[in-house]
């Protein structure tokens, strides 16, 4: 038989997390610090609105771009949080999670051979999606000493005459790094100078613990060259509802809506009704969850400091990214031994790019009891590693 497959997808490396997933599945008593989703349930009033929409028989397709009522609420929300306005009729697309928005944006913006700058460590899907969109990923290895923020020098050095898009993802998964206004201003200058576009994945925007999140789209000259992506998964604990959105200039959104229409039709209707309620009456829920994450973040950092484990202070998302270079093992080796010896699952930094080598992603989207138990085991484990090292 003929080869049924497309070479590009065959050559895409599977997600580095997969291997650990398989090992953990064999260990029912393992505890995990490996999840990338909130430990909260979706607030009840939001779930209730979804249920109510089902009871009323709202089970049909919505318009391709999403319910107008939802797009209006999204527009109002962005205005309230960022002070800029997107036209609900032309500049907002409701997607199946932020993930679809990333995929659609890349496919609508890239011509074959055009380069996409992807600062790593980062979420796992940008690179494969860029490849599948015929783009050429150009990786910037972000540095620990810069707290994993992107500097204008790094960006400048990565730009060629083929550069089309920069993917910017802050607050960042997996590092927890943020970009403050001054950091964004510095790179915006480079972006405008070279006339490139930005896909700004701001899915963790509400989980920022050092002042409010600033979107790059709010800087002068940036709104017209930025696709701002956000969603409900992290801020409202709605991962399973699969709902996100993209906002940007009409000229790009028009094509994105077209592609979305042919590929997806529309985002899930029930989720859209629930999301309207989330945006209308969910600000307090978001604030309460943020406060709770922040408390656990402080606790985790404090315990790492007590253990003498090197870790920069992350101000966003719900991850810490401690450095394990002192133990002289790779992230993979550390994670596998930790799992086998102490039955705690963490994600090696390399799952998010080569520059994650020497680091671990540890999620604090867990109850304090769970965190305490896991950190107790971690302390035991690294004490043992240090003793081993002293012997040799």
């Amino acid at each position: 038989m003929r080869n049924p497959l497309n070479d590009k997808i065959v050559n895409v490396k599977p997600s580095g997390i997969r291997k650990f997933f398989d090992i953990v599945s064999e260990m029912p008593d393992a505890i995990s610090l490996g999840v990338g989703e909130p430990d909260f349930d979706t607030p009840w009033h939001v779930r209730d609105e979804g249920i109510f929409s089902l009871e009323k028989g709202k089970t049909f397709y919505t318009s391709n771009a999403g319910l107008m009522g939802l797009r209006q609420e999204i527009s109002a929300y962005i205005n309230r949080r960022q002070g800029i306005t997107y036209d609900p009729a032309k500049e907002i697309l409701v997607t199946v999670g932020g993930s679809e928005a990333i995929d659609v944006a890349l496919r609508c913006m890239l011509n074959p051979g055009e380069e996409v700058i992807i600062p790593q460590p980062c979420y796992v899907s940008y690179e494969p999606c860029a490849v599948m969109a015929d783009g050429v990923p150009v990786i910037i290895d972000l540095k620990h000493e810069n707290d994993f923020r992107l500097t204008p020098e790094e960006l400048e050095a990565a730009i060629t005459d083929k550069t089309k898009v920069l993917v910017l993802a802050f607050p960042n998964n997996p590092t927890g790094a943020i970009m403050e206004r001054k950091d964004l201003e510095a790179i915006a200058e480079v972006i405008i100078k070279h006339d490139i576009y930005v896909i700004s994945d701001e899915i963790y925007s509400e989980l920022s613990y050092h002042g409010d999140h600033v979107s790059i789209a709010t800087l002068p000259g940036m709104k017209e060259r930025t696709i701002m992506i956000n969603g409900f998964s992290k801020s409202y604990a709605m991962t399973g509802w699969r709902l996100g959105y993209a906002c940007g200039p009409e000229v790009i959104l028009k094509q994105m809506i077209k592609l979305h229409q042919f590929a997806i039709m529309c985002a899930p209707t029930t989720s859209q009704y629930a999301a309207i309620e989330a945006l209308r009456n969910g600000d307090e829920d978001v604030a309460a969850m943020r406060e709770s994450y922040n408390e656990r973040r402080r606790y985790l950092l404090h315990v790492f400091r007590e253990m003498g484990l090197e870790c920069f202070e992350p101000f966003g998302a719900f991850y810490v990214f401690p450095c394990i270079k002192e133990f002289g093992m790779t992230s993979d080796e550390f994670a596998i031994r930790f799992l086998e010896e102490e039955k705690v699952a963490v994600v090696p930094g390399t799952a998010f790019g080569d520059s994650g080598e020497g680091f671990l992603r540890i999620s604090y989207a867990y109850s304090l009891d769970n965190l305490k138990e896991a950190l107790g085991r971690m302390k035991r484990f690294i004490t043992r590693l240090r003793e081993e090292k002293d012997k040799n």
Partner: protein, 160 residues
């Protein structure tokens, strides 16, 4: 700081104060002092344990009693409320708006004990006009805690 401390210890009064201080980004001594101050000011009134007696072999009966009373000149409802809350078997007494005046919650060893309390002690008070007793059949949720189910973490162990 007070609001956060209260929000957290209302859910978990046994939290280690050192950990609480770390979580709030404060010094332990400041948190300890703040709690002591709130105890003194009567903001923190006690530290109780939420028990689901149903799961023990100990028999308990709880009831809500709606009480209509005649308020007394110069004292309003305070005097009658005090006469009721002084009984040790009374758990709580609230003055409420609506069709009746006081809501009394009560715990006894048996239906009979609760009924006797209502007929012998409560109804016979001069100012009590009428009572309506509701026995609690099942507690689903108490003090913000759901008693009927255990929440399991059903998330995948690894997600990017």
């Amino acid at each position: 700081m007070r609001e956060r401390i209260l929000t957290i210890i209302e859910k978990d009064s046994r939290i280690d104060l050192k950990e609480l201080a770390v979580m709030l980004g404060k010094e332990e001594i400041d948190v300890v002092n703040e709690i002591a101050a709130m105890e003194k000011e009567g903001i923190i009134c006690g530290y109780h344990t939420l028990i689901d007696w149903e799961k023990t072999s100990i028999e308990k009966v709880s009831a809500l009693i709606e009480v209509r009373v005649t308020p007394q000149r110069g004292q309003g409802f305070d005097n009658i409320a005090e006469r009721i809350y002084n009984y040790p078997e009374v758990n709580s007494v609230y003055l409420i708006s609506g069709a009746y005046d006081l809501l009394v919650t009560l715990e006894g060893k048996s239906l009979k004990e609760v009924s006797n309390f209502v007929s012998d002690k409560l109804s016979t008070l001069d100012t009590v006009l009428s009572t309506a007793t509701h026995f609690i059949l099942k507690k689903y949720k108490d003090h913000g805690t759901v008693l009927t189910q255990k929440n399991l973490d059903e998330r995948l162990k690894f997600t990017p």
